[in-house]
């Protein structure tokens, strides 16, 4: 692809993101009557915003790359990222909205009435946010290098600056409209080229990707086999790796810092559920597309696997299959979509992390707005540095680890906090520490050591299957042992979480 088209796409998306972030803040104020009046629009608008913030570079680039390289096993990533919202809807959505908490630390403090729990959850929000941001920066560097020829580190820096600018310009998060726009941009950017590419593929006599006989896995590599064991790096234990991935993605979604906040914008608990249903539909619609690129890549761009650049398959396919001006335009559209995917997720995460850092740390020394700005700089600078230093384990793998940590910490906290009135502050802290330490150690191991075939390496690179039960168990056992520390107002809080808003009660 020519660098001019790619550069134009990047500049246009960056400009639009910052512009919508600043302008729609004013627009939203003057037209708030319109949004409030048309309640029928609300779940769709809100759900688009959730989708816009959720679909990251891992979804836009990473899934196709993984499918290209490792095949059917990798389809569990998009399935799990969608099913996570079903689990969230069933266990968390309405009560979390009714709790009135804006962030996860807010929820923890309100439920357990303890500053210490708030401190631990804040640390975890920062940790998970950074773990999620690292692959975003790496993915952005890759996109920019491909689109404009910039060095990947420099590209990452450009992107860090754009994210910081858009967050400081008004905080994209506060503007539902801007995030909703991002979802539809991403969907269009992936859908339109896919239609053209599929037409070319039909024109070529639709050769089956499953029969394409080249690539990293060799002739009989089992690319179409959902239990080949190649993708997770665990040749010997594909069934364990798949189930552990299912646990991490199904249960991790509810614990991501930028997801929980979105539920606050729903008018009530019932709307929170309905919004989540629309999110399920929107994500399902989107996630059908990345595997199409991966499968087409198997036919037309299998050499990318050997070159270790499989994450680039989405961006390279138009050039390889079409050529000419059409390919330029479609390629630019894909670059725009990838860049939007990166910007929206990292802005959301940056705001979530910066909010926690400024509230619980920096605000002790600095006044409000300055504290948030300083915190935002910290929130971006640290993961950028790590992205440059850390080994590139692949966009989707790193995001998968963030899910594992979220599932091992916030999932037990939310589920037990909402459904089990006997949870105590000490029990919660113990469970968070155990889950965080176990999954965190596994993450460190994955980033430093390579994959292997032993059981130990299988257990460490996909920790969720054992770290999540360990965290649940710790919370339950320690809470039982410290029953006297049960929060005094827990019944009032449980009433607030579970009774529909139509019943008039003292909601505290």
């Amino acid at each position: 692809m020519s660098h001019t088209a790619g550069l134009t796409a990047v500049v246009v998306v960056s400009f639009l993101t910052i512009a919508i972030g600043t302008w729609s803040l004013r627009l939203a104020r003057t037209t708030s009557d319109f949004f409030v009046a048309s309640r029928t629009v609300r779940p769709l608008l809100n759900a688009s915003a959730i989708g816009g913030e959720y679909l990251s570079a891992a979804s836009f680039l990473g899934v196709a790359g993984l499918v290209l390289a490792y095949g059917a096993e990798m389809l569990w990533y998009p399935v799990g990222w969608t099913a996570g919202y079903l689990v969230l809807m069933v266990l968390v959505a309405a009560p979390l909205r009714r709790s009135g908490a804006y962030t996860l630390p807010d929820f923890a403090q309100a439920r357990l009435e303890s500053r210490q729990v708030r401190g631990v959850t804040s640390l975890l929000v920062v940790g998970i946010g950074w773990l999620y941001l690292i692959p975003q920066f790496q993915g952005a560097g890759l996109t920019l290098r491909l689109a404009t020829g910039l060095d990947a580190r420099l590209g990452g820096l450009v992107v860090a600056v754009v994210v910081l600018a858009s967050v400081l310009a008004g905080g994209m998060r506060s503007v539902t409209f801007a995030q909703a726009f991002q979802y539809w941009l991403k969907l269009t950017a992936l859908l339109l080229p896919a239609v053209f590419l599929l037409l070319v593929w039909f024109g070529d006599g639709s050769p089956s990707p499953a029969d394409a006989a080249h690539g990293a896995l060799g002739r009989d590599g089992g690319w179409a086999d959902p239990l080949s064991g190649h993708g997770t790096g665990q040749g010997g234990h594909p069934l364990y790796a798949t189930y552990s991935l299912i646990v991490a993605t199904f249960l991790g979604t509810m614990g991501l810092p930028h997801v929980a906040v979105r539920f606050y914008t729903n008018p009530d608990g019932r709307a929170a559920r309905r919004t989540t249903l629309v999110v399920l539909g929107l994500l399902g619609l989107f996630y059908v597309l990345p595997p199409v690129y991966g499968a087409l890549g198997r036919v037309y761009a299998a050499d990318l696997v050997g070159a270790g650049r499989s994450d680039a398959v989405v961006l390279e396919l138009p050039q390889r299959m079409l050529g000419g001006t059409g390919a330029e335009l479609l390629g630019a559209l894909l670059v725009a979509g990838a860049f939007a995917a990166f910007l929206s997720t990292s802005s959301g995460l940056t705001v979530a992390v910066a909010g926690v850092v400024s509230q619980d740390l920096v605000s002790r020394w600095l006044p409000g707005v300055t504290a948030f700005r300083v915190a935002a700089v910290i929130a971006v600078a640290f993961p950028y540095a790590l992205a440059v230093l850390a080994a590139d384990v692949g966009v989707a793998t790193a995001v998968g680890l963030a899910f594992a940590v979220a599932a091992s910490t916030f999932c037990p906290l939310l589920v037990l906090g909402i459904w089990w009135s006997r949870l105590t502050d000490v029990g919660a802290i113990a469970g968070l520490l155990v889950g965080g330490a176990l999954s965190g150690a596994a993450v460190l191991w994955t980033f430093t050591a390579g994959p292997g075939d032993s059981w130990g390496s299988a257990l460490l690179s996909q920790p969720a299957a054992w770290s999540v039960p360990a965290a649940f168990l710790t919370m339950v056992v320690v809470s039982r042992l410290t029953a006297s520390r049960r929060s005094a107002h827990v019944t009032t809080f449980m009433v607030r979480l579970h009774t529909p808003e139509a019943v008039e009660l003292d909601r505290g």
Binding site: V79, S208, D268, L283, T492, V495, H498, P500
Partner: protein
């Protein structure tokens, strides 16, 4: 569902012109019982909580069987995943797009029942 009733409880007690005062007084009592955390209020809340939790676990069990059962199925019947449906391996049809309508249907069924549970609770609290 009915829209959120805007008048706060105190206003309703002093406004005499809708419904019978008898119903009004008992409604006031049950919500107060829940607020006051009496044994009776706790029973009401526990019944709602149990119904919602049972529903949630039921949906999760279905999810575990329908979607979570796929890897085990592929493991136990190795030939199945490669069976071609419309030229595509079965595993790809299921994981590529077949799963998403199932998730949507589960979500839809859950919402219907969760809202019905809440309606039942609301009516019970009001009409007792």
């Amino acid at each position: 569902m009915t829209p959120e009733p805007p008048p706060p409880a105190r206003v309703r007690v002093t406004s005499p012109h809708t419904g019978s005062t008898g119903v009004r007084r008992t409604r006031q009592q049950v919500t107060t019982e829940i607020d006051a955390q009496t044994e009776l209020g706790a029973v009401f809340l526990r019944s709602l909580l149990r119904a919602q939790l049972r529903l949630a676990l039921g949906v999760l069990a279905l999810l575990a069987v329908l979607v979570g059962g796929l890897p085990l199925l592929f493991h136990l019947a190795p030939g199945l995943a490669a069976t071609r449906v419309l030229g595509m391996p079965l595993a790809w049809c299921l994981l590529g797009f077949g799963v998403y309508p199932v998730l949507l249907a589960l979500g839809w069924a859950y919402i219907r029942r969760a809202e019905r549970n809440e309606r039942t609770f609301t009516e019970m609290v009001r009409e007792r």
